[in-house]
Amino acid sequence: MAINKQNVKIHVEHLKKNFGKLEVLKDISTDIYEGEVVVIIGPSGSGKSTFLRCMNRLEEITGGTVIVDGCDITDKKTDINKVRENVGMVFQHFNLFGNMNVLRNLTLAPVDLKKADKQTAQARAMKLLARVGLEDKAQAYPAQLSGGQKQRVAIARALAMNPDIMLFDEPTSALDPEMVGEVLEVMKELAREGMTMVIVTHEMGFAREVADRVLFMDGGYIVEEGTPEEVFSNPQNARTKDFLNKVL
Protein backbone atom coordinates (compact mmCIF):
# COMPACT_ATOMS: atom_id res chain seq x y z
CA MET A 1 0.00 0.00 0.00
CA ALA A 2 1.18 3.45 -0.86
CA ILE A 3 2.33 6.01 1.63
CA ASN A 4 -0.01 8.97 1.81
CA LYS A 5 2.27 11.99 1.98
CA GLN A 6 -0.76 14.24 2.37
CA ASN A 7 -1.47 12.87 5.82
CA VAL A 8 1.10 13.25 8.59
CA LYS A 9 0.18 10.77 11.34
CA ILE A 10 2.95 11.72 13.75
CA HIS A 11 4.68 15.06 13.68
CA VAL A 12 7.71 15.44 15.93
CA GLU A 13 9.44 18.78 16.33
CA HIS A 14 12.52 19.48 18.47
CA LEU A 15 11.57 16.72 20.89
CA LYS A 16 13.65 16.65 24.06
CA LYS A 17 13.53 14.15 26.89
CA ASN A 18 15.57 14.23 30.07
CA PHE A 19 15.67 11.68 32.85
CA GLY A 20 16.77 13.88 35.72
CA LYS A 21 20.04 15.38 34.54
CA LEU A 22 20.53 12.83 31.79
CA GLU A 23 19.56 14.08 28.33
CA VAL A 24 18.29 11.04 26.44
CA LEU A 25 16.67 12.80 23.48
CA LYS A 26 18.39 16.04 22.54
CA ASP A 27 16.63 17.32 19.44
CA ILE A 28 14.45 15.03 17.37
CA SER A 29 12.32 16.15 14.46
CA THR A 30 10.58 14.00 11.89
CA ASP A 31 7.22 13.31 10.22
CA ILE A 32 5.65 9.91 9.92
CA TYR A 33 3.09 9.56 7.16
CA GLU A 34 -0.03 7.45 6.85
CA GLY A 35 0.81 3.94 5.71
CA GLU A 36 4.52 4.41 6.28
CA VAL A 37 6.67 1.80 7.99
CA VAL A 38 9.50 3.50 9.85
CA VAL A 39 12.18 1.39 11.48
CA ILE A 40 14.41 2.93 14.14
CA ILE A 41 17.85 1.37 14.60
CA GLY A 42 20.86 2.38 16.64
CA PRO A 43 23.13 1.31 19.48
CA SER A 44 21.61 0.68 22.89
CA GLY A 45 21.27 3.82 24.94
CA SER A 46 20.80 5.92 21.83
CA GLY A 47 17.24 6.82 22.85
CA LYS A 48 15.28 4.70 20.34
CA SER A 49 12.85 3.22 22.86
CA THR A 50 12.45 6.51 24.69
CA PHE A 51 11.62 8.21 21.39
CA LEU A 52 9.00 5.57 20.65
CA ARG A 53 7.52 5.87 24.15
CA CYS A 54 7.23 9.63 23.71
CA MET A 55 4.90 9.03 20.74
CA ASN A 56 2.11 7.88 23.09
CA ARG A 57 3.43 9.81 26.09
CA LEU A 58 4.32 6.75 28.13
CA GLU A 59 7.29 9.01 28.88
CA GLU A 60 6.60 12.57 29.94
CA ILE A 61 7.96 14.86 27.26
CA THR A 62 10.51 17.42 28.45
CA GLY A 63 10.42 19.78 25.49
CA GLY A 64 9.33 20.20 21.88
CA THR A 65 6.12 19.15 20.20
CA VAL A 66 4.63 15.78 19.30
CA ILE A 67 1.41 15.82 17.31
CA VAL A 68 -0.36 12.49 16.83
CA ASP A 69 -3.31 12.36 14.46
CA GLY A 70 -3.71 16.13 14.80
CA CYS A 71 -3.67 16.10 18.61
CA ASP A 72 -0.82 17.87 20.36
CA ILE A 73 0.07 15.33 23.05
CA THR A 74 2.52 17.72 24.71
CA ASP A 75 -0.48 19.90 25.55
CA LYS A 76 -1.72 19.03 29.04
CA LYS A 77 -5.31 19.69 27.91
CA THR A 78 -5.22 16.90 25.34
CA ASP A 79 -7.03 13.76 26.50
CA ILE A 80 -4.10 11.39 26.16
CA ASN A 81 -6.32 8.34 26.71
CA LYS A 82 -8.35 9.19 23.60
CA VAL A 83 -5.16 9.53 21.55
CA ARG A 84 -3.81 6.22 22.89
CA GLU A 85 -6.95 4.39 21.79
CA ASN A 86 -5.73 5.03 18.27
CA VAL A 87 -2.09 4.12 18.86
CA GLY A 88 -1.39 0.46 19.53
CA MET A 89 1.80 -0.51 21.31
CA VAL A 90 3.71 -3.78 21.47
CA PHE A 91 6.34 -4.19 24.17
CA GLN A 92 9.57 -6.11 24.40
CA HIS A 93 8.29 -8.11 27.36
CA PHE A 94 4.75 -8.61 25.97
CA ASN A 95 3.04 -7.33 29.13
CA LEU A 96 -0.01 -9.51 28.66
CA PHE A 97 -2.43 -9.17 31.56
CA GLY A 98 -1.51 -12.16 33.69
CA ASN A 99 -4.83 -12.31 35.53
CA MET A 100 -6.90 -12.82 32.36
CA ASN A 101 -7.11 -15.38 29.61
CA VAL A 102 -6.16 -14.51 26.06
CA LEU A 103 -9.68 -13.61 25.00
CA ARG A 104 -10.13 -11.26 27.98
CA ASN A 105 -6.76 -9.69 27.20
CA LEU A 106 -8.15 -8.75 23.79
CA THR A 107 -11.60 -7.63 24.89
CA LEU A 108 -10.82 -5.80 28.14
CA ALA A 109 -10.00 -2.38 26.71
CA PRO A 110 -12.55 -2.33 23.85
CA VAL A 111 -15.39 -3.30 26.21
CA ASP A 112 -14.20 -1.18 29.15
CA LEU A 113 -13.74 1.90 26.99
CA LYS A 114 -17.09 1.29 25.31
CA LYS A 115 -15.63 0.79 21.87
CA ALA A 116 -17.74 -2.33 21.44
CA ASP A 117 -20.25 -4.46 23.32
CA LYS A 118 -19.05 -7.77 24.68
CA GLN A 119 -20.31 -9.94 21.80
CA THR A 120 -18.86 -7.74 19.08
CA ALA A 121 -15.55 -7.46 20.92
CA GLN A 122 -15.32 -11.24 21.34
CA ALA A 123 -16.14 -11.90 17.69
CA ARG A 124 -13.52 -9.39 16.65
CA ALA A 125 -11.01 -10.85 19.11
CA MET A 126 -11.51 -14.33 17.65
CA LYS A 127 -10.94 -12.96 14.16
CA LEU A 128 -7.73 -11.28 15.27
CA LEU A 129 -6.55 -14.43 17.02
CA ALA A 130 -7.21 -16.39 13.83
CA ARG A 131 -5.18 -13.83 11.96
CA VAL A 132 -2.16 -14.36 14.21
CA GLY A 133 -2.77 -18.12 14.13
CA LEU A 134 -3.84 -18.55 17.75
CA GLU A 135 -7.62 -19.02 17.73
CA ASP A 136 -7.17 -22.27 19.67
CA LYS A 137 -5.49 -20.36 22.52
CA ALA A 138 -8.43 -18.05 23.29
CA GLN A 139 -9.05 -19.66 26.69
CA ALA A 140 -5.37 -20.09 27.63
CA TYR A 141 -3.64 -17.91 30.20
CA PRO A 142 -0.49 -15.96 29.28
CA ALA A 143 1.66 -18.16 31.53
CA GLN A 144 0.74 -21.16 29.35
CA LEU A 145 2.01 -19.59 26.11
CA SER A 146 5.46 -19.54 24.52
CA GLY A 147 7.20 -16.21 24.00
CA GLY A 148 6.32 -16.07 20.32
CA GLN A 149 2.69 -16.85 21.07
CA LYS A 150 2.60 -14.18 23.78
CA GLN A 151 3.91 -11.57 21.42
CA ARG A 152 1.40 -12.51 18.73
CA VAL A 153 -1.38 -12.20 21.32
CA ALA A 154 0.06 -8.82 22.34
CA ILE A 155 -0.11 -7.65 18.72
CA ALA A 156 -3.70 -8.89 18.46
CA ARG A 157 -4.55 -7.10 21.72
CA ALA A 158 -3.23 -3.82 20.36
CA LEU A 159 -5.14 -4.36 17.10
CA ALA A 160 -8.35 -5.04 19.01
CA MET A 161 -8.67 -1.30 19.62
CA ASN A 162 -8.58 -0.82 15.85
CA PRO A 163 -5.69 1.64 15.93
CA ASP A 164 -4.40 3.75 13.04
CA ILE A 165 -0.82 3.58 14.23
CA MET A 166 1.20 0.73 15.74
CA LEU A 167 4.34 1.21 17.81
CA PHE A 168 6.69 -1.74 18.33
CA ASP A 169 9.34 -1.55 21.05
CA GLU A 170 11.91 -4.26 20.29
CA PRO A 171 9.17 -6.84 19.79
CA THR A 172 11.52 -9.76 19.17
CA SER A 173 14.37 -8.97 21.57
CA ALA A 174 13.05 -11.15 24.39
CA LEU A 175 12.25 -14.13 22.15
CA ASP A 176 14.10 -17.37 21.59
CA PRO A 177 15.61 -17.29 18.09
CA GLU A 178 13.24 -19.89 16.68
CA MET A 179 10.24 -17.76 17.61
CA VAL A 180 11.39 -14.52 16.04
CA GLY A 181 10.14 -15.52 12.61
CA GLU A 182 6.50 -16.06 13.56
CA VAL A 183 6.28 -12.60 15.12
CA LEU A 184 8.01 -10.86 12.22
CA GLU A 185 5.61 -12.64 9.82
CA VAL A 186 2.61 -11.10 11.58
CA MET A 187 4.27 -7.68 11.43
CA LYS A 188 5.05 -8.02 7.73
CA GLU A 189 1.43 -8.89 7.08
CA LEU A 190 0.38 -5.73 8.93
CA ALA A 191 2.82 -3.65 6.91
CA ARG A 192 1.45 -5.08 3.66
CA GLU A 193 -2.06 -4.08 4.71
CA GLY A 194 -0.94 -0.47 4.98
CA MET A 195 -0.73 0.02 8.75
CA THR A 196 1.31 3.00 9.85
CA MET A 197 4.08 1.44 11.90
CA VAL A 198 7.03 2.65 13.93
CA ILE A 199 9.35 -0.17 14.90
CA VAL A 200 12.40 -0.19 17.15
CA THR A 201 14.35 -3.33 16.36
CA HIS A 202 17.70 -5.01 16.08
CA GLU A 203 16.49 -7.27 13.24
CA MET A 204 18.38 -5.67 10.36
CA GLY A 205 17.17 -8.16 7.75
CA PHE A 206 13.59 -7.41 8.71
CA ALA A 207 14.25 -3.65 8.67
CA ARG A 208 15.66 -3.92 5.19
CA GLU A 209 12.70 -5.90 3.96
CA VAL A 210 9.71 -4.00 5.37
CA ALA A 211 10.90 -0.47 6.13
CA ASP A 212 9.90 2.42 3.93
CA ARG A 213 12.33 4.53 5.87
CA VAL A 214 15.09 3.73 8.33
CA LEU A 215 16.12 6.14 11.10
CA PHE A 216 19.53 5.66 12.63
CA MET A 217 19.73 7.16 16.12
CA ASP A 218 22.79 7.82 18.23
CA GLY A 219 23.36 9.96 21.31
CA GLY A 220 19.84 11.37 21.39
CA TYR A 221 19.77 12.52 17.75
CA ILE A 222 18.58 11.09 14.46
CA VAL A 223 21.96 10.85 12.82
CA GLU A 224 20.90 9.49 9.47
CA GLU A 225 17.71 8.55 7.69
CA GLY A 226 16.69 7.22 4.32
CA THR A 227 15.37 4.21 2.48
CA PRO A 228 16.77 0.87 3.66
CA GLU A 229 18.83 0.78 0.47
CA GLU A 230 20.41 4.17 1.24
CA VAL A 231 21.07 3.52 4.91
CA PHE A 232 22.23 -0.09 4.75
CA SER A 233 24.10 -0.11 1.43
CA ASN A 234 25.41 3.40 1.31
CA PRO A 235 25.54 4.98 4.76
CA GLN A 236 26.90 8.51 4.77
CA ASN A 237 27.59 9.12 8.44
CA ALA A 238 30.67 7.65 10.09
CA ARG A 239 28.69 6.51 13.16
CA THR A 240 26.12 4.73 10.97
CA LYS A 241 28.91 2.97 9.10
CA ASP A 242 30.57 1.95 12.35
CA PHE A 243 27.30 0.63 13.81
CA LEU A 244 26.36 -1.30 10.66
CA ASN A 245 29.83 -2.82 10.48
CA LYS A 246 29.31 -4.22 13.96
CA VAL A 247 25.82 -5.62 13.49
CA LEU A 248 25.72 -6.81 9.86
Binding site: N56, L58, G88, H93, N95, N99, A109
Partner: protein
Protein backbone atom coordinates in the same frame (compact mmCIF):
# COMPACT_ATOMS: atom_id res chain seq x y z
CA UNK B 1 -11.22 -25.64 85.98
CA UNK B 2 -14.71 -27.13 85.61
CA UNK B 3 -16.03 -24.76 88.25
CA UNK B 4 -14.77 -21.80 86.29
CA UNK B 5 -16.28 -23.18 83.09
CA UNK B 6 -19.63 -23.85 84.78
CA UNK B 7 -19.86 -20.50 86.46
CA UNK B 8 -18.13 -18.19 84.03
CA UNK B 9 -18.23 -20.14 80.75
CA UNK B 10 -21.04 -18.13 79.25
CA UNK B 11 -19.47 -14.88 80.39
CA UNK B 12 -16.16 -15.78 78.77
CA UNK B 13 -17.89 -16.84 75.56
CA UNK B 14 -19.75 -13.56 75.46
CA UNK B 15 -16.43 -11.79 76.00
CA UNK B 16 -14.97 -13.68 73.07
CA UNK B 17 -17.93 -12.40 71.07
CA UNK B 18 -16.98 -8.85 72.10
CA UNK B 19 -13.38 -9.52 71.10
CA UNK B 20 -14.51 -10.68 67.66
CA UNK B 21 -16.88 -7.73 67.31
CA UNK B 22 -14.10 -5.29 68.13
CA UNK B 23 -11.69 -7.06 65.78
CA UNK B 24 -14.22 -7.02 62.93
CA UNK B 25 -15.03 -3.33 63.40
CA UNK B 26 -11.34 -2.49 63.54
CA UNK B 27 -10.46 -4.62 60.52
CA UNK B 28 -13.29 -3.20 58.43
CA UNK B 29 -12.01 0.35 58.80
CA UNK B 30 -8.40 -0.81 58.69
CA UNK B 31 -9.03 -2.24 55.22
CA UNK B 32 -10.45 1.09 54.04
CA UNK B 33 -7.60 3.09 55.58
CA UNK B 34 -5.05 0.60 54.28
CA UNK B 35 -6.38 0.76 50.73
CA UNK B 36 -6.53 4.56 50.69
CA UNK B 37 -3.12 5.09 52.27
CA UNK B 38 -1.59 2.26 50.24
CA UNK B 39 -2.84 3.80 46.99
CA UNK B 40 -1.70 7.23 48.16
CA UNK B 41 1.83 5.90 48.50
CA UNK B 42 1.98 4.48 44.95
CA UNK B 43 0.36 7.27 42.90
CA UNK B 44 2.63 9.70 41.09
CA UNK B 45 1.97 12.60 43.43
CA UNK B 46 4.58 13.82 45.90
CA UNK B 47 2.24 15.37 48.53
CA UNK B 48 0.15 12.16 48.58
CA UNK B 49 3.28 10.03 48.96
CA UNK B 50 4.60 12.17 51.81
CA UNK B 51 1.26 12.19 53.62
CA UNK B 52 1.01 8.41 53.38
CA UNK B 53 4.61 8.00 54.56
CA UNK B 54 3.99 10.30 57.54
CA UNK B 55 0.87 8.42 58.57
CA UNK B 56 2.55 5.05 58.42
CA UNK B 57 5.67 6.23 60.26
CA UNK B 58 3.63 7.96 62.94
CA UNK B 59 1.39 4.99 63.69
CA UNK B 60 4.20 2.46 63.50
CA UNK B 61 6.32 4.59 65.79
CA UNK B 62 3.80 4.66 68.64
CA UNK B 63 2.98 1.56 70.73
CA UNK B 64 -0.66 0.60 70.46
CA UNK B 65 -1.26 0.91 74.16
CA UNK B 66 -0.19 4.56 74.00
CA UNK B 67 -2.42 5.08 70.99
CA UNK B 68 -5.32 3.53 72.93
CA UNK B 69 -4.84 5.80 75.94
CA UNK B 70 -4.41 8.78 73.68
CA UNK B 71 -7.61 8.16 71.73
CA UNK B 72 -9.78 7.14 74.67
CA UNK B 73 -8.58 9.68 77.24
CA UNK B 74 -6.44 12.18 75.37
CA UNK B 75 -8.69 13.09 72.46
CA UNK B 76 -11.85 13.88 74.50
CA UNK B 77 -9.70 15.86 76.94
CA UNK B 78 -8.19 17.84 74.05
CA UNK B 79 -11.59 18.54 72.52
CA UNK B 80 -13.51 19.24 75.74
CA UNK B 81 -11.00 20.86 78.06
CA UNK B 82 -8.42 22.41 75.76
CA UNK B 83 -10.41 23.33 72.67
CA UNK B 84 -13.62 23.88 74.58
CA UNK B 85 -15.88 21.82 72.34
CA UNK B 86 -18.04 20.31 75.05
CA UNK B 87 -19.73 16.95 75.33
CA UNK B 88 -17.37 14.80 73.31
CA UNK B 89 -17.24 11.28 74.67
CA UNK B 90 -16.11 8.05 73.10
CA UNK B 91 -17.35 4.62 74.09
CA UNK B 92 -14.68 2.00 74.61
CA UNK B 93 -15.89 0.25 71.44
CA UNK B 94 -15.57 3.42 69.39
CA UNK B 95 -12.15 4.25 70.75
CA UNK B 96 -11.04 0.64 70.35
CA UNK B 97 -12.24 0.54 66.77
CA UNK B 98 -10.41 3.76 65.91
CA UNK B 99 -7.29 2.49 67.59
CA UNK B 100 -7.29 -0.84 65.77
CA UNK B 101 -8.27 0.76 62.47
CA UNK B 102 -5.36 3.22 62.64
CA UNK B 103 -2.83 0.69 63.82
CA UNK B 104 -3.81 -2.16 61.53
CA UNK B 105 -4.53 0.33 58.70
CA UNK B 106 -0.93 1.52 58.72
CA UNK B 107 0.40 -2.02 58.38
CA UNK B 108 -2.21 -2.84 55.73
CA UNK B 109 -1.14 0.23 53.78
CA UNK B 110 2.40 -1.13 53.69
CA UNK B 111 1.18 -4.55 52.58
CA UNK B 112 -0.94 -3.01 49.84
CA UNK B 113 1.87 -0.73 48.68
CA UNK B 114 4.31 -3.64 48.49
CA UNK B 115 1.69 -5.76 46.69
CA UNK B 116 1.08 -3.12 44.03
CA UNK B 117 4.79 -2.52 43.59
CA UNK B 118 5.34 -6.25 43.10
CA UNK B 119 3.24 -6.14 39.91
CA UNK B 120 5.45 -5.53 36.88
CA UNK B 121 5.35 -1.91 35.70
CA UNK B 122 4.68 -3.19 32.19
CA UNK B 123 1.17 -4.27 33.22
CA UNK B 124 0.17 -0.68 33.95
CA UNK B 125 1.94 0.57 30.83
CA UNK B 126 0.20 -1.95 28.61
CA UNK B 127 -3.21 -1.00 29.99
CA UNK B 128 -2.46 2.71 29.64
CA UNK B 129 -1.19 2.23 26.08
CA UNK B 130 -4.63 0.85 25.16
CA UNK B 131 -6.20 4.09 26.36
CA UNK B 132 -7.36 2.98 29.80
CA UNK B 133 -7.31 5.72 32.45
CA UNK B 134 -4.98 5.24 35.43
CA UNK B 135 -7.60 4.18 37.99
CA UNK B 136 -9.34 1.88 35.53
CA UNK B 137 -6.07 0.15 34.81
CA UNK B 138 -5.32 -0.05 38.52
CA UNK B 139 -8.69 -1.61 39.24
CA UNK B 140 -8.84 -4.02 36.29
CA UNK B 141 -5.25 -5.07 35.84
CA UNK B 142 -2.88 -4.15 38.67
CA UNK B 143 -4.95 -4.64 41.85
CA UNK B 144 -6.30 -8.11 40.95
CA UNK B 145 -2.73 -9.29 40.47
CA UNK B 146 -1.44 -7.47 43.55
CA UNK B 147 -4.12 -9.02 45.79
CA UNK B 148 -2.83 -12.48 45.05
CA UNK B 149 0.56 -11.70 46.53
CA UNK B 150 -0.98 -9.72 49.37
CA UNK B 151 -3.39 -12.35 50.71
CA UNK B 152 -0.99 -14.23 53.03
CA UNK B 153 0.31 -11.00 54.61
CA UNK B 154 -3.19 -9.61 54.98
CA UNK B 155 -4.40 -12.71 56.79
CA UNK B 156 -1.35 -12.61 59.00
CA UNK B 157 -2.20 -9.00 59.81
CA UNK B 158 -5.78 -10.00 60.60
CA UNK B 159 -4.52 -12.52 63.16
CA UNK B 160 -2.18 -9.97 64.73
CA UNK B 161 -5.05 -7.50 64.97
CA UNK B 162 -7.32 -10.08 66.55
CA UNK B 163 -4.68 -10.65 69.23
CA UNK B 164 -4.09 -6.92 69.61
CA UNK B 165 -7.69 -6.48 70.79
CA UNK B 166 -6.43 -7.75 74.15
CA UNK B 167 -4.43 -4.51 74.53
CA UNK B 168 -7.73 -2.64 74.53
CA UNK B 169 -8.58 -4.19 77.90
CA UNK B 170 -6.69 -1.17 79.27
CA UNK B 171 -9.45 1.20 78.20
CA UNK B 172 -12.05 -0.99 79.82
CA UNK B 173 -13.57 -2.65 76.79
CA UNK B 174 -15.20 -5.90 77.99
CA UNK B 175 -13.27 -8.18 75.66
CA UNK B 176 -11.82 -11.52 76.65
CA UNK B 177 -8.74 -10.42 78.60
CA UNK B 178 -10.59 -7.73 80.54
CA UNK B 179 -13.35 -10.17 81.45
CA UNK B 180 -10.85 -12.84 82.46
CA UNK B 181 -9.15 -10.36 84.79
CA UNK B 182 -12.48 -9.89 86.56
CA UNK B 183 -12.98 -13.63 86.79
CA UNK B 184 -9.54 -14.02 88.36
CA UNK B 185 -10.29 -11.17 90.77
CA UNK B 186 -13.42 -13.02 91.89
CA UNK B 187 -12.08 -16.55 92.06
CA UNK B 188 -8.29 -16.18 92.51
CA UNK B 189 -7.99 -19.15 90.10
CA UNK B 190 -5.55 -17.51 87.78
CA UNK B 191 -3.97 -20.66 86.30
CA UNK B 192 -7.32 -22.16 85.33
CA UNK B 193 -8.76 -18.94 84.00
CA UNK B 194 -5.79 -17.93 81.88
CA UNK B 195 -5.45 -21.46 80.55
CA UNK B 196 -9.06 -21.36 79.39
CA UNK B 197 -8.56 -17.93 77.81
CA UNK B 198 -5.39 -19.10 76.03
CA UNK B 199 -7.21 -22.11 74.60
CA UNK B 200 -10.08 -19.92 73.45
CA UNK B 201 -7.75 -17.63 71.52
CA UNK B 202 -5.88 -20.61 70.14
CA UNK B 203 -9.05 -22.24 68.81
CA UNK B 204 -10.33 -19.10 67.10
CA UNK B 205 -6.99 -18.21 65.57
CA UNK B 206 -6.32 -21.76 64.42
CA UNK B 207 -9.70 -21.83 62.70
CA UNK B 208 -8.94 -18.50 61.08
CA UNK B 209 -5.55 -19.72 59.83
CA UNK B 210 -7.21 -22.83 58.39
CA UNK B 211 -9.69 -20.76 56.43
CA UNK B 212 -6.85 -18.51 55.32
CA UNK B 213 -4.76 -21.38 54.07
CA UNK B 214 -7.57 -22.92 52.05
CA UNK B 215 -8.33 -19.51 50.57
CA UNK B 216 -4.71 -19.05 49.64
CA UNK B 217 -4.63 -22.46 48.00
CA UNK B 218 -7.75 -21.68 45.99
CA UNK B 219 -6.28 -18.37 44.84
CA UNK B 220 -3.08 -20.06 43.76
CA UNK B 221 -4.66 -22.89 41.80
CA UNK B 222 -7.52 -21.00 40.14
CA UNK B 223 -7.19 -17.89 38.06
Amino acid sequence: MLRILNTYGNLLLAAMGQTLLLALCGLFFACIIGLIVGLMSVVKNKPCNILARLFVDLIRGVPMIVLAYFIYFGMPYLLNNIMGIGGVTLTALQAGTICLALNCGAYMAEIIRAGIESVDRGQMEAARSLGMPYWRAMQRVVLPQAIRTMIPSIINQFIITLKDTSILSVIGFPELVNTAKNVVANTFMSFQTWAIVAVMYLVVITLLSRVARSMERRLKSGH
